[in-house]
Symmetry: D3
Subunit: 135 residues, 6 copies
């Protein structure tokens, strides 16, 4: 079994805010990330797929096709967007990196065939990142 | 003469929009960057100062002091902010990387003493960046 | 379960040397890293914590709080220090990257609550790094 | 147990092509990577070895020796080479990143003693990489 | 005046060889880069354009349009190609990084309007790069 | 004219200290960098040479020869060393990045023939770097 990974990029803004909480509870929990007008990141997403490379192609999956899939299903819907306002599949979800990674997993999982989605890694910045493996 | 550089980081959101233009003109000019709710970046700013290192310290300027200056004058005012709404010194300015670099130069120029501000380099992403040298 | 990671940096020096060994045995084992006056690195430490993000915050743990914890417990004690002489919790330990990662784990393990410390990754340089998972 | 990793680099060219397939099947499967005259990459290889660091050295394995081993067994045979024509151990194999990682594993596995080869990670570019763990 | 830069990527192979020279002279001059079957790189190209950002747009030039121009004029013609065999504008030229940067300059120079092409920077690898400014 | 650059790496330790100053003056000026036992960095050095690539080779200078020169003249003498104690050409000099860049320039300047040394850029860390151009 080999694990193959494709990395893609998008730029977006978000605000961490729980509408059921008081302002002070929001500030205490989310700090600067609670800023009313939001802030933003250059996100990096790494999608890892596991499988056996067939002898005749030597590829678990065509990385170009994986790239196209990530672009069509994810990047097109979040790039240059505000995650709290512009993204249908994040409606009602606090757009933390954790929740975004889980949402991306749920979108991609049924689209990967003949191989197995293994991990979604999402970088909010070079120093902050999360990984979800469907566990 | 030696050029010394300090790099700092901030995360912010912005929208490229000229209120004097029609929607179609804005879309044509700014593309996805005109998104109503904005989008965001992990910005990197490189501040370069030129000078002669005195023999007794061997430093053009203490990079820790330069870092503190950039933090106090720039980072504190833009980090985790929306550049169109939350930043006083960008009021009325379209927050392109070009205009932001010029604004940062104008703030830092009078604060650098005993050495000369040489360049402000601003990365919007690893693939898009601008430089302003006061020319 | 989601894995979240915070990366921090510090600059330090060290010398690999076993005082119970002869000079030739030390040189043979540690090579240039045995240099009497030491040498140094820009270390990068990645701390990964695993847990379930609660619905109301969407965060396994506040990455800002994780960053503050790493700073207070680790960075403050090793940054701009000589690991063989200046760091109490490394006394009597050969400061290889392996031993440093284990020492960092032992410090952080009891401090992470409501989530589980999963991994300490320590980069001595972009080409040399180690990972410890408490196994 | 600690996992230690050494990263090395090489530059090489390759062509993805199955001689048993028609031109159209090759183009459909490998796209631009099927270009007759080949194309190339700056590859990065990360070799991870797992083991217990003995108390007297504090090292799972000397990373300098691991580096020398990778250089002698891998880099010397693939650097500045065309993988389809110049590399004996890849004869008859389609040089995808997957197949290269498996070939590197098979070469290094019997050479790592007193510790266990855990993973071969091969970057074809910063956005495309594969990992093989002998599973 | 502001300098704006767009970075693009391509993967290609090349061979450094002067057909008017003996084999020994080629080997002595180009070393491993003279390998008969070529080798390859992930190239990075940085195109810098200088100009005054007009008040109404705040942009020296739309970086998206600059990106499209580089893609159409350069990347489409060199990506996943062998520079000695597949690229018309490099026919009869030894494809060193120096000569490639000059060729890219000559292609882009007349295409940049309302602003001035300032520099072409070409990375063969993170450790080897060249810059041409039309001087 | 083309500018070509070769990047090399070394790991070393240093202490910023002026023996003619009081402890308090040293602490005030150099802060944590004055730590008695020193600290260290993974330094990166970029050496830029300018020249006209001759038509028959297409190279300003063989980057392999430039790499060998930097290794022999600089890296061999500073790698895995303590700059205050182990490096003859830095005796009596406070090893700030500024002073190190100037010292490297003075060593390399007379060794570069048929082309012109243009710049020495020295990174102490990704966030702190200096450049010297012999001005």
């Amino acid at each position: 079994m080999v694990y193959i990974t494709r990395k893609e990029h998008f730029s977006a803004s978000h605000r961490l805010h729980n509408p059921n909480w008081s302002e002070s509870k929001n500030t205490e929990t989310f700090g600067k990330c609670n800023n009313l007008n939001g802030h933003g990141h250059n996100y990096e997403i790494e999608v890892t797929v596991a499988g056996d490379p067939p002898k005749e192609s030597g590829m678990v999956m065509d990385l170009k096709k994986l790239s196209d899939l990530i672009d069509a299903e994810i990047i097109e819907r979040v790039d240059h967007k505000h995650m709290n306002h512009d993204v249908d599949f994040l409606k009602g979800v606090i757009p933390t990196a954790e929740n975004m990674a889980i949402a991306f997993w749920n979108i991609l999982k049924p689209k990967i065939q003949h191989a197995r989605l293994f991990s979604i890694k999402l970088y909010e910045s070079p120093n902050n990142f999360v990984e979800y493996r469907g566990e």
